[in-house]
C-alpha cells in the first residue's frame, strides 16, 4: 500500500482530515503548499502558529526586527528567553517546536520594492501581517503582478480588518478599495496607538483560516471586507465588495501591464517617511528646559512651578510627575488662555517632547506679558533617562 502521508501524519491531522470537504486531498494540498507571512508580529505570530499546526508544507517568514519586551503582550510565538533575537529566528524556533514537518524559510530583511517580487514569487499565498500603509500598497501591487491571493489583516486599538485581495480572476486589489493613501501622522506625534493582543490574535487566526480555505479549495471565491470591533455588541460585520475596478491603476484593464514595483516609491505615495519623533522631541530652543534643569528648578524650590502634562488622561493615569496636572493637548489648544494661571513659570511635559512644543506655542500666543512658559525637552523619556530611572516607561 502506497501512502500519501507518513503514518504519523495520518494520526496527527486526522481531526481535520475527517471534515467534510477537507479529506486526505485537503491535507495533501496543505503539505504541498507554501505560504509567505510578511511581518512576524501581532498578526503574523498567530497566523504562523495555525498554519504550522495545520501542516502547511513551507512557511516563509519576512521580518527585519528583533524581539523586544513590549512585543510579548501580543506576539505570541516570541518568548522571554528570545528577547533580542531576530523575530524570524524566534518564530522559526517556535514553529519547529509545534511541527517539525514544516520547512521554514527565514528572511531577516525588510520587505521593499527591490526584494518583494523575488521573495514572494515562490509562494502560493501571501499574508500581509505588516503594520504600515506603504508596505500594504507594495504587497498588493506585488500580489497583482505575481497573480497570487493576498490575505490582508490589520488591527489597531480594539478594531481589526480582514480581506482577501486579488482572489481568482476578478477579485479586487487593495488599491481598488483604498485608492488614496491615508495622510501620515493623523495621530498626534507623541501618541502611540494602542493594541490589545487578543484583537491581533482574532485577525491573525482568521488570516490563517482564509489561507487554509484557499489552499484546500474550501474558499467560495467571493471577496468580503470583514470589520471587527471588539467592544461592539455585534463585533463582526461582513461588507460585500465589488469585483476588481476596471479603472484601477494597478489591477484594472491594462493596469498591471504598466506596473513597475521596483521603481515605485511607496513611501512617497504614503506621504513621505515617518518622522523621527524622538529626535524632533529633543530639538533645542530657548523656550525649552532640559530634564536636569527642571529637576534642579523643582528641587531648589525658589519658584513654584505650574507643571502641565498634555498626554491623554489614560497615559497620565499610568504614571506622571507628582507635581503635574493633566490638560490633554486638544483641550489646551482649544482654549489656551484658560490654562494660564498666575505668574509662576509654566512648564509643559509630554511623552517625547513634541506635543509639549505645540502646547507652548498655543500658550505663548494667548499670553501678552504673563508667566514664563517652557516645555520639557525630550519629554518624560528624557526625564527617565537623565533624572529618574525609576519612572515607568510604558512606551
Amino acid at each position: 500500500m502506497t501512502l500519501s502521508l507518513s503514518l504519523g501524519e495520518y494520526q496527527r491531522y486526522g481531526r481535520q482530515m475527517i471534515l467534510s470537504g477537507f479529506g486526505l486531498q485537503g491535507q495533501i494540498k496543505l503539505k504541498q503548499s507554501s505560504v509567505v507571512v510578511v511581518g512576524a508580529g501581532g498578526l503574523g505570530c498567530p497566523a504562523l502558529q495555525y498554519l504550522a499546526a495545520a501542516g502547511v508544507g513551507t512557511l516563509g517568514i519576512v521580518d527585519h526586527d528583533v524581539v523586544e519586551s513590549s512585543n510579548l503582550q501580543r506576539q505570541i510565538l516570541h518568548t522571554e528567553d528570545r528577547l533580542g533575537v531576530s523575530k524570524v529566528a524566534s518564530a522559526a524556533t517556535a514553529i519547529r517546536g509545534i511541527n517539525s514537518n514544516v520547512k521554514v524559510d527565514a528572511y531577516q530583511e525588510m520587505i521593499s520594492p527591490s526584494n518583494a517580487v523575488g521573495i514572494l514569487e515562490s509562494y502560493d499565498v501571501i499574508l500581509d501581517c505588516t503594520d504600515n500603509p506603504a508596505t500594504r500598497y507594495l504587497l498588493s501591487d506585488a500580489a497583482v503582478l505575481l497573480r497570487k491571493p493576498l490575505v490582508s489583516g490589520a488591527a489597531q486599538r480594539y478594531d481589526g480588518q480582514l480581506c482577501v485581495y486579488n482572489l481568482g480572476e476578478d477579485g479586487p486589489c487593495y488599491r481598488c478599495l483604498f485608492p488614496k493613501a491615508p495622510e501620515p501622522g493623523l495621530a498626534s506625534s507623541c501618541e502611540e496607538t494602542g493594541i490589545l493582543g487578543a484583537v491581533t490574535g482574532v485577525i491573525g487566526n482568521l488570516q490563517a483560516l482564509e489561507a487554509i480555505k484557499i489552499i484546500t479549495g474550501l474558499h467560495d471565491g467571493t471577496t468580503a471586507l470583514l470589520l471587527y470591533s471588539a467592544l461592539s455588541h455585534s463585533p463582526f460585520r461582513s461588507i460585500r465588495v465589488r469585483k476588481k475596478q476596471v479603472n484601477c491603476t494597478v489591477c484594472g484593464t491594462g493596469g498591471s501591464a504598466a506596473l513597475d514595483v521596483v521603481n515605485t516609491d511607496y513611501i512617497a505615495f504614503c506621504g513621505g517617511p515617518t518622522r523621527d519623533w524622538v529626535k524632533t522631541g529633543q530639538a533645542i530652543s530657548d523656550t525649552r528646559i532640559s530634564a536636569s534643569d527642571l529637576k534642579r528648578m523643582l528641587d531648589t524650590g525658589t519658584h513654584n512651578v505650574r507643571l502641565i502634562d498634555v498626554r491623554s488622561p489614560i497615559e497620565f493615569g499610568i504614571c506622571h510627575l507628582p507635581e503635574s496636572i493633566n490638560v490633554p493637548l486638544a483641550t489646551l489648544v482649544a482654549d489656551p488662555a484658560s490654562h494660564l494661571v498666575g505668574d509662576d513659570p509654566h512648564i509643559v511635559v509630554c511623552r517625547l517632547g513634541n506635543d509639549s512644543q505645540l502646547a507652548v506655542d498655543a500658550l505663548r500666543s494667548a499670553s501678552d506679558a504673563g508667566p514664563d512658559i517652557k516645555d520639557l525637552m525630550g519629554g518624560l523619556q528624557s526625564w527617565r533617562e537623565d533624572v529618574d530611572t525609576e519612572f515607568p516607561a510604558y512606551w
Binding site: L43, A154, Q161, P182, E183, L186, R240, V241, R242, A334
Partner: protein
C-alpha cells in the same frame, strides 16, 4: 421622516469617541455625500473631515463606489470604514 444608523470604525471611532450615531432623514431623502457634511458639522474640530477623505462607505453591508449616487430613505445602516494599517 426616518432614521439611519451610522457605524464608526477605527480612526472614525477614535476621532469621535463613539462607535455609532443616528441621524434623521428628511422625507425627500438624504444623499450619502450630504450625510458626510452633517457628520462633519456635528463634530467640529474632531478631525473627522480628514478621516472621511480616506474612508469608504457601506450601506446595508454593501461597499459604495459613488457616494453621490446613493440617496438614503431611512432605515439603512451606514458604515464608515477608514483604512487600518496597524498590525
Amino acid at each position: 421622516m426616518g432614521e439611519i444608523t451610522v457605524l464608526y470604525f477605527a480612526a472614525a471611532t477614535t476621532a469621535l469617541g463613539r462607535t455609532s450615531e443616528t441621524f434623521t432623514v428628511p422625507d425627500d431623502g438624504l444623499k450619502l455625500s450630504d450625510l458626510a457634511k452633517l457628520i462633519v458639522t456635528g463634530h467640529p474640530n474632531s478631525g473627522i473631515d480628514r478621516v472621511l477623505e480616506h474612508s469608504r462607505w457601506s450601506v446595508d453591508a454593501e461597499l459604495i463606489d459613488l457616494p453621490d449616487s446613493v440617496v438614503l430613505r431611512g432605515g439603512e445602516e451606514v458604515a464608515i470604514i477608514p483604512p487600518v494599517s496597524g498590525g
